[in-house]
Amino acid sequence: MSKDWPLYEVFIRTKNGLDHRHVGSLHAADETMAIENARDVYTRRMEGISIWVVESKYITASDPYSQDSFFNPAEDKIYRHPTFYELPDEVKHM
């Protein structure tokens, strides 16, 4: 049965979280069932208060074979991190 059901990716926002985070995937016949299955599978231990689902086929992913050209050029560009400033003491939570 589940062989025929499409795969969905599940995103959950925790009670204090600002963003939905990817928590896993599941099978469901449609979006309604996907939300309910996500509730039953991924929020059993109060993991969150909001769920997003999207059918996996709608996710466009970067090509794992292009990792070198995609991500490695950023490696030696440490000046892109804002770590060269002196922070005044008044600025907290940085």
């Binding site: 049965m1 589940s2 299955n37 059993r44």
Partner: protein
């Protein structure tokens, strides 16, 4: 105030119904139709067992006998259980599991909706917690009634068969026994008769969306609340009670 035997008996109806239903659903752990529904069924099972625990706890307090939930669940015999016959019915196939769930969800939803107005504070708090759970169960089971009823020819036929076979166990929910009548009169628990028309209307709605016909027989088997059970009950208890009876006081 003496011990309210009527109240205790009435609490046993819902405690035992919750326990036996939870046990039946628990049988499906690892055997659900798909992994996601397997977990859904187990979640519902645990909600019911949790509810049984709350009721047994309250019963123990009222009886003042220091019995534990385990004593009630594992050390009573068949005729002492007062659960509805409906929940004894085997899972058979997923359509039966869904139909059974749907029938008691709609009942309990309206039951708890009224029980939150009880004169007893503890009944109110059990009902408030259970009402939230039941609202979700009802959503789950209604959708499956529709999906299977309005699905393929085979799923429709299976849903229709389940409804037909389980129908005779529905009526028992709405007929108060003598001890329940006394408790209803005291405004301790929901009146059962008015729930019947609410239940019928809601079931009719979902059935019409699902294309499922109501069964035609209106004869209702009863007896569960008085301790007279179907032939399935002994098997449920012998499996459920086996370990605690074989190794008394075992803990893990």
């Amino acid at each position: 105030m003496g011990i309210d035997k009527n109240l205790i008996s009435s609490l046993f109806v819902h405690a035992d119904t919750a326990l036996i239903h939870g046990q039946r659903l628990g049988e499906l752990c690892g055997h659900g139709p798909v992994l996601e529904q397997d977990i859904a069924l187990t979640n519902i099972s645990l909600d019911y067992i949790g509810r049984a625990r709350l009721y047994y706890d309250l019963i123990s307090k009222l009886e003042g006998n220091n019995k534990t939930e385990d004593d009630y669940a594992f050390h009573r015999i068949e005729s002492e259980f007062k659960n509805l016959l409906l929940v004894e019915y085997p899972n058979k196939d997923f359509a039966y599991t869904v139909a059974k769930q749907f029938f008691i969800d709609v009942f309990y939803y309206h039951f708890f909706l009224q029980c939150v107005e009880s004169k007893n504070q503890e009944i109110i708090s059990i009902s408030q917690k259970s009402l939230k759970e039941t609202a979700y169960h009802k959503k789950w089971s209604s959708e499956w009634i529709i999906r299977l009823g309005d699905g393929t020819d085979i799923s429709h036929q299976k849903m229709q068969n389940a409804v037909a076979d389980l129908w005779m166990y529905v009526g028992e929910m709405f007929v108060p026994t003598e001890f329940e009548q006394a408790v209803i009169k005291e405004n301790l628990m929901a009146d059962l008769l008015p729930i019947k028309s609410l239940w019928e209307a809601e079931v009719k709605d979902i059935f019409s969306i699902a294309g499922i016909k109501q069964a035609e027989n209106n004869w209702a088997q009863s007896g569960g609340k008085e301790g007279n059970h179907t032939e399935y009950m002994g098997y449920i208890l012998s499996e459920m009670q086996y370990i605690p009876r074989t190794y008394p006081n075992m803990i893990w």
